[in-house]
Symmetry: C2
Subunit: 578 residues, 2 copies
Amino acid sequence: MSKIKSLIRKTATPANTNNPILDNIANSDAPINMTANTPIEQTRWNGWGNININKKVSAHGAKLIKSHIGKTKKLNSVSLAQVLKTVPKSRLPTAITELKTVSIDQEDRLRHARGQSFPDWIAMHGGDFEVFPDGVAFPESTADVEILLKLASEHDLIVIPFGGGTSVAGHINPQKGSRPILTVAMSKMAQLIDLDNESQIATFGAGTQGPAVEAQLDTHGYRLGHYPQSWELSTLGGWIAARSSGQQSLGYGRIEQMFAGGTLVTPQGTLNIADFPASAAGPDLREMMMGTEGRAGIFTEVKMRVQHQPEEELFKVAFMPNWEVGKEVLRQAVQKNIRLSMLRLSNAVETDAHLHLGTTPSQFLAISTYLKARGLSSDKVMLTYGVSGDKAQNKLALTEFNKLLKQQGSVTGKITDIMGSVWAHGRFKFPYLRGTLWEKGIMVDTFETATNWNHIDEQMQQMQEAVQNALADEGEEVMAFTHISHVYKQGASLYTTYFFRAAQDHASTLSRWQKIKHAASSSLANGTATISHQHGVGRDHAPYLAAEKGKLGIQVTSDMLKSLDPEQRMNPGVLIED
Amino acid sequence: MSKIKSLIRKTATPANTNNPILDNIANSDAPINMTANTPIEQTRWNGWGNININKKVSAHGAKLIKSHIGKTKKLNSVSLAQVLKTVPKSRLPTAITELKTVSIDQEDRLRHARGQSFPDWIAMHGGDFEVFPDGVAFPESTADVEILLKLASEHDLIVIPFGGGTSVAGHINPQKGSRPILTVAMSKMAQLIDLDNESQIATFGAGTQGPAVEAQLDTHGYRLGHYPQSWELSTLGGWIAARSSGQQSLGYGRIEQMFAGGTLVTPQGTLNIADFPASAAGPDLREMMMGTEGRAGIFTEVKMRVQHQPEEELFKVAFMPNWEVGKEVLRQAVQKNIRLSMLRLSNAVETDAHLHLGTTPSQFLAISTYLKARGLSSDKVMLTYGVSGDKAQNKLALTEFNKLLKQQGSVTGKITDIMGSVWAHGRFKFPYLRGTLWEKGIMVDTFETATNWNHIDEQMQQMQEAVQNALADEGEEVMAFTHISHVYKQGASLYTTYFFRAAQDHASTLSRWQKIKHAASSSLANGTATISHQHGVGRDHAPYLAAEKGKLGIQVTSDMLKSLDPEQRMNPGVLIED
């Protein structure tokens, strides 16, 4: 017991932990900027996030991964100066370049050429960007964007909207072609424009990043409540255009429930989407335009449904005997309308990996001993949950949920409560882990879907097996684990993380990734699971979209987009293949 | 006090009350059929509902209305036999008429020619149907519908989908034109086809009416929870095609939250909309097709999100000092996430009218005395609310809500609790009132919208004034009152009921209605209120749709529909004017 007490003492102070799940702000070099948009020059040009923030990984965590994928070797990385030399002359006409909103600066063009997909990382580290936008516009108003799209039509440009540049599916990558490419970066439209306290509607510039959204609302006592893992850098416009979902979607809803209306500038003119509370007047323009991923136009000002800051917010952890009972707890909780704000369940492999990655060997032993003494075996799974709201509502939700947990043999206690708090403190640092592992030659990517409860197990197995066996022809093992992070009465999301080792060069490492990606994507193309629950389609998922929409579904979506962009200059090839 | 006690005794037995709001099943000639679809031959050919059900109105209620609109005189009504003589020969080709699913019987065609809009009632009672469908198909499967649409393309027919025939906006009326018209009645597709207990998804034939939906689910312990006022006769397919909202939408959501996916047969083929719990894979096909009002195709099988029957369900009434504080209670309740399943607030005029219409003079005096003794004046408003769920969840919700009520000076007690129960028992009998009033020469119609909280008062005033003054040129007074029946964090619906007196004949009575309708619709066309919160667009609201969607919004919607119906044979003119 002394080990456990010591562990509790240590983890009680977030600054003393070192755990990718049980992470915290204090153990990084700098805190996340919580008040305003992060200037792009303060972000890594070839990886995730703020240049002042890093994230460590434990030695025995890395060892566990290597015990699966084998000994690794770091890939080479080119320098920014080397890549800058490869940026060609801009093809934009002077009518565009003379606009005060437009830059043809080489670094601006480089920094807006790629997102955060695995192929993007390979391109950035290998120095092979292939294509750069011919210029980057930084509009400050809807009128600026209207001018840009008008000139784009007159001069036959390709236009790519750019929010936080956090796409992991190839949403913002310029493609080879004869038409000059203008990327429209929304970073200067980042203000709270209007707040209707009575209707609780906040109007924002669409380029506002997560922290700036919440900081501006918080001064008025409000919260949006949308917290995707990319929250530090991703934007309102990006969330809407790619149908994002945040970690507390159970309590606050997906972006679809938050987006009330707004302004979409299209090549055919400006579409003002009215912000009614509800309407029976035909198909919903909001829902027709959400998920268009830049192919219909550019969101400039967006009206968001906000709420009062919760009186109380708690995050907790429980360990369950196995996946089956953990899943049953999630399903019953949501179907019984228990008012939690988040639910997340790691499968047994993920639970073990996270306990390794986030602990010292002695901490790991202490936790393992603690859980084993309470009857949990290697089948154990970690369940993270939260409440956000009035204290009385939270109390009832926790009472109801604890009853469910106990019925299914949960282990909870002071130590698991601390794990919950620590998870909450560090939850936006996760994406930094990719860079840390990259430096060790460990390649990591994720894959996600959503399916109904009756398909969850089958789909998880199919996804994991597809990923694990994808490099069998090279004799390479891929390590994979999965969690459920978003639950609905009808089903849940599945989020698989996988690790493989870098090959001898960038191209053959990319080839490994492509095999895995294709195997995983194909495992979804069965009509019962979506190609994306929260990342969108982009270019990477577009080949698999027809499997779920059908030929006719693709046709009607495509015709809808062509109505607003008949010359297909808006982000062509994204969402629907040309 | 003896009067009050006597009233409580009387109202405690639903059979003894006679009140349009505080109504009950017992005081009608027959109960609503609660188990299966009502055969169309058991419904009125020229009015609302089951031929065996009637609804009385109190003498002093009718007197109150007449004190506003003046002395009334009943309009003539033609007989069914007279109208049957006006049904012309069918123009359908033999390739259609020889199908076993198709009828060209004159009464079938007559009974599927009109809905329940005010112009429909004028046409049915005046005997001027104008146009009849050339035949009515009664498909029994998706394959039947596919054959029908294939033949419709080959023979260039107009096709009109028909659910319960309850449209109040002209959704199912055939129009003059050279193409023969086939109405497709979905009444034979009324079965529960599949139930996934784990994912709580029920698959139904789209022609299933409200009672048959709930009866088939109830045998398995489930509930859909969609209760529009038309519930007795309206269908799943109709609710989805016209974006319906039920009385308990606060707890169960609108039809948009219930419809998970399904099959839409279109002239371009069959669109299978996948039933994912959520997806980020592009624009949502569900939301693109909901609200298409028959212009994209015909819903045949629909997958609905269902829930366990609630452990407890209660409906209650409270009286509030005035509209302002009543509205404040509604807004705070929803914005504080108090888990009620319904909220409804009648304004002062509606409160007074309903208390008159549903009572004897002595009951009215007793209630008025009771409320006056508790400090309520003629400004008082009636607030109806409900909870549906687990007892613990309901208890918390009622505790929180009662606190809000008391803060705002509510009057509640045994008598108001009874009013709530009685409202619940009689809530689907309301549409029968139109026939009762019609027989007295009192014309009644309703008008509804939704807007944000900050526009509610202004919009209600505009709507009511527009209606009240619409017949000023004829020296006629229109009586109007309003309630809020659906609340959202962002805003609420407004539902105005109005009474005017019949003119000397059907045509001039219709002309009065047209003036009122245009005045009311124009009062909405300001971009802040929708032309319909729950009735859909049909033909009657189509001229006003552009005011809220904008020219570009209409264009993109129209192009989306044309993608599935390039020859515009599906219900042309509905939703978007030709």
